[in-house]
Symmetry: C2
Subunit: 223 residues, 2 copies
């Protein structure tokens, strides 16, 4: 497998943990102090044993018949991901998707901050969105080096993704979050997280297809 390290924590667990986190934060805001897997499972429509397993990866154990301290659980998830250390990132491609990512309010709570954006369109270079300045793409590699940035976000069109990834890697970036619908080739020791929008869509459409076939479709409300 190209010498990539093995990750012992399953990706579905890693994807679910932020969802628990958002949910627990809301619980805490409503004044709740203790919560059980059964309760979480009911609210999020997940299996309680799965939740217990997921949460155990953060090092927490619930008290039988009582559950977890909500505040402690939140803290464990934060420590697990290292959200208290800010990860700074550069973003390339200031189209709609890039703008959506720059404006996304939710990242700061995950210790993630886009500190500059890059594009080769003179119409956007020099502009500032949500305090993030757009710089010329030609400066990407040197600024990665100078500012010691290790995470890059690609929000360019398909055809530009590989070239941008190469520029990032030349600047020392080791983690790439790729929103372009293209497979990127990277050397060993660089992690690519592909964010394929069509993946979620495909899951939804397939589930709908299965729901329709099962005959369990809900009565349509026509008032």
């Amino acid at each position: 497998m190209n010498g990539k390290p093995d990750y012992i924590i399953p990706e579905p667990t890693l994807r679910r943990l932020p969802r628990y986190y958002n949910y627990l934060k809301a619980l805490l805001n409503r004044g709740r102090e203790v919560v059980s897997c059964t309760h979480i499972g009911k609210d999020l429509e997940l299996d309680p044993p799965q939740i217990r397993k997921d949460l155990a990866y953060t090092g927490i154990r619930g008290v039988p018949k009582v559950g977890y301290q909500v505040a402690e659980l939140i803290k464990n998830i934060e420590d697990f991901f290292g959200w208290n250390n800010i990860d700074e990132a550069f973003l390339v491609g200031v189209g709609n998707m890039g703008r959506a990512l720059i404006d996304y309010k939710g990242f700061s709570r995950y210790g993630f901050k886009i500190i500059a954006a890059f594009d080769n369109d003179s119409e956007v270079i020099g502009k500032t969105f949500n305090d993030v300045e757009v710089l010329p793409l030609s400066k990407l590699t040197s600024l990665c080096q100078r500012m010691n940035v290790h995470i890059g976000v690609i929000a360019t069109p398909d055809h530009a993704a590989q070239e941008v990834a190469d520029m990032m890697i030349a600047g020392g970036i080791i983690g790439i979050w790729n929103f372009a619908p293209a497979e990127i080739r990277t050397p060993e020791g660089v992690i690519v997280q592909n964010e394929n929008l069509a993946a979620g869509l495909s899951v939804l459409c397939k589930k709908l297809q299965m729901l329709k076939q099962s005959g369990k479709i809900r009565q349509e409300v026509r008032e």
Copy 2:
């Protein structure tokens, strides 16, 4: 679990299949006729046995020591998802994320089409983006009913998501693709696919953390 139907196909498989599909389309364009799981695994950095299992869900079996016909495999994935039948959807929330989804070129190949958008901001109502007209939110429920649309995309801020979901469901929508970072409650027989941007980010950051701890970090290039 709230009476929701069981889906026998694992979600990670459903998420990987579109990735194989994009990859296979590119292979076919380069004139390749046959491909093996080993070859796919090398290019996509996935385990060949996992790929074999994933592809088997579409009903295809490879020929030992030869592999799959690329064109046949593509066709099987298309049929599996029903991508040849167009799914029409309404989108609510024409901010950056909404605009990014409206402009996303990749959806049509998955048989998915946003046919109208809704917002309550008079600045965008009446405008057209990528041939998609923005209508007042107040018309959402009645248009869902009248046009028999069954899929809704939520790209609103957090606080508006539940209200919009309720309006969609009142109009007969049974599949919701939710980009708002909020948990939505729905009645039985309605499927919600949450697209949590922070999930992918969390996976990336955790992998980076593990990579740094493993000491397998790549030598930084400083030219």
